[in-house]
């Protein structure tokens, strides 16, 4: 008689489509129910997390592709919610078109932002209290749900058109920085301009407002840079991207 561990290894090997002799241990052979359920459950979870990708590929092709993913990457997560983490990486390994990989990355960021940590966001009033002469020393903390992504395709417009059940918009090259975050418990996203993206990156890296203004001079006229950076800052605050300001 097999010990419990070997029995479980054999059962698992059967589900993972490895060589297994579990059939010898079973009275009623309905192992196929477990086998089908294993793939179906993970595929359904992936369909939920990658709704537009599923539509772009077509459900049959998505299921075929994700079946290969499931075989290669069994879940090590306690919650099925995290299972799709490596899907875009697997798409890259299998040379799927870049615009599909980018859509997978974008949809995964939506799921990451959805239940990322909470934080109280800062307001315009918070910053209005700081004397103007101290502004150059300001540093900022961003919301824990913020995710950034370098886009090389029109991924956001395509994603939005699929929400409207308009499947006519084709993927095209378009370079931008996209951000995903949560405001009032709702996931938001948008593309940033080059200077906004640069400024946000410097904020995340801990640079102060003075350093940011100096660096932005490569995009903005030196006489306008402070005003422009302040306008960007106001926009970030109104978007609920920032949670704290410190004076360094």
């Amino acid at each position: 008689m097999l010990d419990l561990r070997q029995l479980q290894i054999n059962f698992q090997d059967f589900l993972l489509e490895k060589k297994s002799v579990i059939e010898n241990e079973i009275v009623e052979n309905r192992l196929s129910i477990y086998h089908q359920a294993y793939y179906l459950r993970l595929q359904e979870a992936l369909q939920q997390d990658f709704k537009v990708l599923t539509q772009m590929l077509g459900r049959d092709e998505f299921n075929q592709f994700t079946r290969n993913f499931i075989v290669k990457y069994p879940s090590h997560f306690r919650s099925i919610r995290w299972y799709g983490k490596k899907l875009s990486e697997f798409m890259g390994e299998n040379s799927l078109p870049e615009y599909l990989i980018e859509m997978a990355e974008f949809e995964w960021l939506l799921t990451e932002s959805f239940d990322a940590a909470d934080s109280v966001t800062m307001t315009i009033e918070d910053i209005a209290l700081i004397p103007a002469q101290r502004w150059s020393e300001l540093t900022f903390a961003v919301h824990p749900s913020l995710r950034r992504m370098a886009c090389h395709w029109n991924t956001i417009p395509v994603w939005l058109s699929y929400q409207e059940e308009d499947f006519s918009l084709e993927s095209q090259r378009n370079i931008s920085t996209c951000i995903v975050w949560r405001s009032q418990y709702e996931v938001q996203f948008c593309a940033l301009t080059v200077d906004e993206s640069y400024m946000l990156e410097m904020m995340i890296n801990g640079n102060n407002f003075g350093e940011i203004c100096a660096a932005l001079c490569k995009y903005i006229d030196v006489n306008e840079v402070a005003t422009h950076a302040a306008a960007n800052l106001k926009k970030f605050i109104s978007f609920d991207l920032l949670i704290r300001v410190d004076i360094k």
């Binding site: 008689m1 097999l2 010990d3 419990l4 561990r5 029995l7 479980q8 290894i9 059962f11 698992q12 589900l15 993972l16 010898n24 241990e25 079973i26 009275v27 009623e28 052979n29 309905r30 192992l31 129910i33 477990y34 359920a37 294993y38 459950r41 993970l42 979870a45 069994p74 879940s75 090590h76 997560f77 306690r78 919650s79 099925i80 919610r81 299972y83 932002s113 959805f114 239940d115 990322a116 940590a117 909470d118 824990p144 749900s145 949560r182 418990y185």
Partner: protein, 277 residues
């Protein structure tokens, strides 16, 4: 044992707003533990709001008590932290295994009913209960295969583990029906074999009948033979906290409340008959 909480439903995201806006007549709600082991966002926002209005119990799907892997202490720490946050009336998980060698198959896989498995699961439950500082409930799962090496019935296996680990039982009446159908057993004999003093909670659910076997799908209303079995369970075990699970084809909340009210009426009737007798 905690006194009966009455009649509850499984909390599903589809019903968050209806529950908060309508404050429906539910005695309690059961959450799937793993759905709330996240850093923040909407799931925890709604959970806290709903906890302000209803008692909650936590129901896990991945403790993997029967796995021969070591317990996942990181996961258990998260479970304990969530329990501190929402103070559930109790915490349950399944009498099953979900994977080995670090893999999670995300299914509730049956154990062989052997003394070796009993020894193993009892030791696991002891560790979990010690860590959480409370008794847990273990639930019988639906099964589609049986192992040649089993040395006893499922109900003997469940009862022996509950007794030796001094834990409580979440009796899934639908799962008893499903497994009894699949393995050609008498579900009433199953009920006979369960210690009434350990049954803390009952699950009811629908399933999918494929002819020569049944799959536990939780996607349809409870069927009459399961209601009949539930009536018998109440007759034997007395008033037990009861809830309906629906995980697919999730209907309007009122439809589930009507179904729950049917459970309530069956329970009332059986308890009345019992008191007269």
């Amino acid at each position: 044992m905690v006194d009966t909480l009455g009649f509850g439903l499984g909390l599903r995201a589809e019903h968050y707003n209806a529950i908060l806006e309508e404050c429906p007549p539910l005695d309690w709600l059961e959450i799937i533990t793993e759905n709330y082991l996240v850093p923040g966002g909407k799931p925890l926002y709604y959970l806290d709001k709903i906890r302000d209005r209803y008692p909650l119990v936590m129901h896990g799907v991945s403790l993997s008590l029967g796995s021969t892997d070591a317990l996942d202490w990181d996961h258990l720490k998260q479970v304990k932290a969530l329990a501190s946050r929402i103070e559930p009336a109790w915490i349950s998980d399944h009498l099953c295994w979900t994977g080995v060698n670090g893999i999670n198959l995300h299914d509730l896989l049956p154990l062989p009913y052997t003394h070796e498995a009993i020894n193993h699961v009892v030791a696991q439950i002891n560790q979990v209960q010690e860590f959480l500082g409370r008794q847990i409930l273990i639930e019988n799962v639906s099964s589609y295969v049986a192992y040649k090496q089993s040395e006893m019935t499922e109900w003997e296996f469940l009862s022996e583990i509950a007794k030796r680990a001094d834990c409580l039982i979440l009796l899934d009446v639908n799962n008893i029906y499903v497994s009894s159908y699949n393995h050609k057993l008498n579900p009433y004999q199953y009920l006979d074999g369960i210690d009434r003093n350990r049954v803390q909670q009952i699950h009811l659910a629908g399933h999918s009948n494929q002819g020569d076997y049944i799959i536990d799908t939780h996607d349809s209303p409870v069927i009459q033979p399961v209601w009949d079995l539930y009536a018998e369970a109440i007759k034997r075990f007395g008033a037990v906290s009861t809830m309906i699970e629906r995980d697919a084809n999730i209907p309007d909340l009122n439809e589930l409340i009507n179904e729950l009210n049917h459970a309530r009426s069956i329970s009332d009737k059986m308890l009345k008959e019992k008191s007269v007798a």
